[in-house]
Subunit: 121 residues, 2 copies
Amino acid sequence: MRLSVEEAERLADELWYRNVEKTVIAVAQDYETKEVLMVAYMNREAFIRTLSTGLMHYWSLSRRRIWMKGETSGNIQEVVDAYIDCDGDAVLFLVKQRGNACHKGFRSCFHNRIKAGEEGQ
Amino acid sequence: MRLSVEEAERLADELWYRNVEKTVIAVAQDYETKEVLMVAYMNREAFIRTLSTGLMHYWSLSRRRIWMKGETSGNIQEVVDAYIDCDGDAVLFLVKQRGNACHKGFRSCFHNRIKAGEEGQ
């Protein structure tokens, strides 16, 4: 999915950048398996670049710059579909993931499963 | 899924509360359909209550207090499974959703689909 820069800018104006460093939360979900792959941040510019190129761009809190997912690893995420949540501070992207989403070599960043021990149920 | 308070506290110590108001991002996903229902925030206490009761609790940025999802609407979320992401600042919960997740009457908060107009592709 790709929008014109003007369309992307109009949508960007409707978001609520209330997160750290003026960002919204971006959730990337595999468009086929529905697996949640990763959660990260987008500032206004990253959101516009994502929609106008069709490739996921995030704001890196640690590096303090926009990065295109896969720019070094090649594990890009193509946008298939996108949904803004009811208060505009989070966006869900259905993506076609090339390779793995997690830099640790896992398909998804959410690979640490919480297990209930003997004390739990 | 329910853990003892001690188990929940041990896990809570491993999270990275780097978000607004010392929170982690919590993603609630329907355990059956895999639909992403909502994204919100948990501070340490909300995370512990969630795992020790088996019911989703969040930190409300607007009300500045912990709330149990469904405490007024009845639309509770039972925790079925949970995964911590690779850097510990986000947690994915697979939940059994009673009623709708969105206070606007939609199943999911992500109901505003972005459509590419004539200018886009």
